[in-house]
């Protein structure tokens, strides 16, 4: 009977394929992981991907030129990264001018006299600031995914996706197939292993100064982009975690972790009681047998282009701080978890079907609070060190603004600053 024989040949095919796949997996993934050997496959994979992306992008550009269409370019095109940094530093300088106390320097630029009389032109300063904020602002920019110059064949990061050429679309289709079948299935296997070094997904291109690794009795602080930060750091050392208690899948994970070692999970309502938090932290670091604490002082996920305000709580505890800078390479997949847009499950799915997650981790030299330095000043010092090492913009804005409104005090502060300009001199004369 013919159907029986075709059925068996189909069976044979499937068996052979599966056998080949498993052999490949064992030979190239599991065994090297156990032995700690690398075949250099990952760096080859990365280089190939980059070449493909560049080709695809140039193909789209030439295709668009042929059709005389204008391509949407992300905000940073045409400027080198150095220039962008400079531009951002200028913006920061202006921002700091708003928030720092007692400085009216930005307003003085607009005044014709050095005196403190009111001028009709004064209002222009505020209207310009207003227009600038409307056009673009530092805060909302931190909470949406970074835009890329070269397209990495993921429609999620492309705003231009139109049918430009058959080849590019075919490549994209192939990419989808590859990512959702092969890479996704690889990751299923990998998650059964404890050692993540074998994962083609997570690639450390890091330069790590081993001697700066966090020790017991210290606190490790890092910038926060995604929950994967924890996995990456935990790959390289053991930590006790501090964080907000979550519900759902994350909550299950958190409870499971507590069974393995001591972590500190808070309710945000409880976190308002700072003494309680500080006490628990203090007790933990005092015990030299306990692992170093890992804290993300920003308090929320930021999109890895900048570092937002560090909350001072962890810097009030009297111990050594080990700063760590984490920077993801956005060309292979955007690691930022936009928690207002995606839940943890759909985020993980996106992560697992990206090309790869490439990150650089820098362990910075340990820092201690100096004499006479306040916790806030210390926090800012650590933040600048992390930002400059990771090539991120150092911002003073509070990450909490993702969910909450600016306090009324800030507006009052602005009003006070301006009043000082108007009438400040007369007050000092009294």
């Amino acid at each position: 009977m013919t159907w029986f024989s075709s059925d068996s040949s189909l069976c044979t095919c499937v068996c052979v394929t599966l056998a080949l796949w498993w052999t490949h997996l064992v030979l190239f993934v599991i065994v090297p992981a156990v032995l700690g050997v690398s075949f250099g496959i990952r760096s080859f994979y990365m280089r190939t991907l980059l070449k493909v992306f560049k080709w695809a992008t140039s193909r789209i550009e030439t295709g668009a030129k042929e059709k005389n269409e204008e391509l949407y370019k992300p905000d940073c095109t045409g400027k080198s990264s150095d220039e962008m940094f400079h531009v951002k530093s200028l913006t920061l300088a202006r921002l700091v001018g708003i928030i720092a106390k007692g400085r009216a320097a930005p307003l003085q630029e607009l005044r014709s006299t050095a005196g403190s009389d009111f001028e009709l032109a004064d209002v222009l300063y505020f209207s310009r600031r207003g227009a600038e904020s409307i056009v673009d602002d530092e805060v909302t920019r931190c909470f949406s995914a970074q835009e890329l110059e070269t397209w990495n064949l993921l429609t999620r990061s492309n705003y231009n996706f139109r049918h430009i050429s058959v080849r590019v679309t075919a490549l994209w289709g192939l990419g989808v197939l590859l990512r959702y079948t092969v890479i996704l299935s690889y990751t299923q296997v990998i998650h059964h292993q404890i050692d993540h070094h074998a994962a083609p997904q997570v690639i450390h291109s890091g330069q790590t100064l081993r001697e700066n690794k966090p020790q017991n009795g210290g606190i490790c602080v890092a910038n926060h982009t995604t929950p994967i930060d924890v996995i990456i750091l935990a790959n390289d050392g053991c930590y006790s975690l501090v964080g907000q208690v979550h519900r759902g899948l994350m909550g299950v994970l958190q409870r499971a972790m507590v069974k393995a070692s001591s972590h500190i999970w808070f309710e945000r309502s409880e976190a308002k009681d700072r003494h309680l938090v500080a006490k628990r932290l203090g007790d933990h670091v005092a015990d030299k047998n306990k692992l170093p604490i890992l804290i993300f002082p920003e308090g929320t996920c930021v999109n890895n282009t900048s570092v937002m305000m560090f909350k001072k709580g962890s810097f009030e505890v009297d111990c050594t701080i080990y700063p760590v800078a984490i920077k993801y390479d956005p060309r292979f997949g955007d690691a930022f978890w936009n928690s207002s847009k995606f839940g943890i499950v759909s985020y993980l799915l996106r992560m697992m079907s990206s090309w790869a997650i490439v990150c650089s981790v820098w362990y910075l030299p340990p820092m201690n609070r100096e004499e006479g330095e306040s916790a806030v000043e210390f926090a800012n010092r650590v933040k600048s060190a992390i930002a400059s090492q990771g090539g991120l913009v150092d911002l003073v804005w509070d990450g909490g603004l993702k969910r909450a409104k600016v306090k009324e005090d800030f507006k009052k502060e602005q009003q006070k600053l301006y009043s000082k300009v108007l009438v400040g001199d007369t007050e000092t004369e009294k």
């Binding site: 630029e109 009709l120 505020f126 600038e132 056009v135 804005w397 409104k405 507006k411 602005q414």
Partner: protein
Amino acid sequence: MCTHPPADEVRRLDKRFKKLDLDDSGELSVDEFMSLPELQQNPLVQRVIDIFDKDGNGEVDFNEFIEGVLQFSVRGTKEQRLRFAFRIYDMDNDGFISNGELFQVLKTMVGTNVEDVQLQQIVDKTIVSADTDGDGRVSYQEFCAVVGGLDFHKNMIVDV
């Protein structure tokens, strides 16, 4: 009226508009503007929004948004910027800055940090020095005579 802005600027602004338009209504309400932390601390934000809102319906649609923002771009003229600055004060849009209007605007800029009496003195002094035709209020020409001489308008440029 104004030159056509390049397509990529318009596209960027379109993207920005959509990001600000939280309820996808096609128009920006005051609340949606106020979701920007930097604007929340700007005392003059209500005036800026009112000027953007040309038809006075309380919301800013896309055309008003583009026109409003482009006044601040490099492509804007000195005339446009002067007009904008004048409108900040001229709350009822009658072409004159009255004593009361100047007082109100100044009040939002200083909050409670300056006594009303002192503020009124500043307002009176300013009106007197600017008001060349003696009608007790400042017209657009008088305003330009005071402000237009400075290079201020170059400081009003925003990178779009």
